[in-house]
């Protein structure tokens, strides 16, 4: 299976920097509107990294005008052109789902 996964690996897969849960990142995703393609940034905190191999994903959470928005990205997705790590967070958990129940000052992540 591993051999086959290597065989199927997409050359278009992006080379992403190393980041961990708790980091604030900016993901540049290409979206298609009609027949035009443009790059849209999505900035937020990484609250979870799960899976392995071709199906490995990360979840980014941000607050958009007071409403929490989460997006799940595949690590190997050719739709991601770039990821910038804005700051490293200092967290004690691998999954930061508790942030969903917090708001305002309590929902901040400590800097490293």
């Amino acid at each position: 299976m591993e051999k086959i996964n290597n065989l199927l690996q997409d050359e278009k897969a992006p080379k992403l920097p190393n980041f961990k849960t708790g980091d604030r990142i900016k993901v540049f995703v290409s979206i298609i509107e009609g027949d035009k393609e443009r790059v849209q940034p999505f900035e937020g905190d990484v609250i979870s990294i799960r899976g392995s191999g071709a199906s490995r994903t990360f979840t980014v959470r941000k607050l958009s005008s007071g409403v929490g928005v989460e997006r799940i990205f595949h690590f190997k997705s050719p739709k991601i052109s770039k990821v910038d790590v804005i700051k490293e967070g200092n967290v004690r958990r691998a999954k930061l789902y508790y942030l969903r129940n917090l708001s305002g000052k309590a929902a901040r992540i400590k800097n490293k």
């Binding site: 299976m1 199927l8 897969a13 997705s77």
Partner: protein
Amino acid sequence: MPGMLGKKIGMTSIYNSDGDHIPVTVIKAEPCKVVSVKTKEKDGYDALQLGMGAKKKKNISKPELGHYKKHKVDAPFKVKEFSGFEKDKFKTGDEIKVDFFEEGEVIKVRGNSKGKGFQGVMKRHNFGGVGGTTHGQSNRLRAPGSIGASSYPSRVFKGKKMAGRKGNDTVTIRNLTVVKILNEENLILVRGAIPGANNSIVELIKN
């Protein structure tokens, strides 16, 4: 329907040209040898007998060996008959390869599902269980409920869905799209899941 035999390798995911994520099952379909050509005149029906892989010598029974010797082929691991081939084009010893299918084609995949053992009605037949927790109800949450009426018919109807052995059935999944074919490696990738455990033998059937 014409088809061939393959071995389920496992599931993974790939991306299409639009960058969309597609879950795929990888099937290894090594060239299938035509063991014998059945004809209407001789056998009463038209079919191709296809064999896949190689069988260990100690596992070949004498009647099998006779059959393969007659057609001058090596003993395959698994033999299956497929109808619908243009039989004039094939003769014993010919190979059917994975390029028999095309990318984008819609096929059927047939296999034996994983055995689940003795299971209750909720898992086996999607019953709802006995709902409610009042009126004296206790410990009946996963029970089948009533299995029939009383004095008429005074028996349980045949075929009543009850608990029992689940799985290990022949299951056909229709409308699976062929996402990719790797001719050199004899691999075929279909979108979605197929029945059976990894390394189990499946039939790939043309629509």
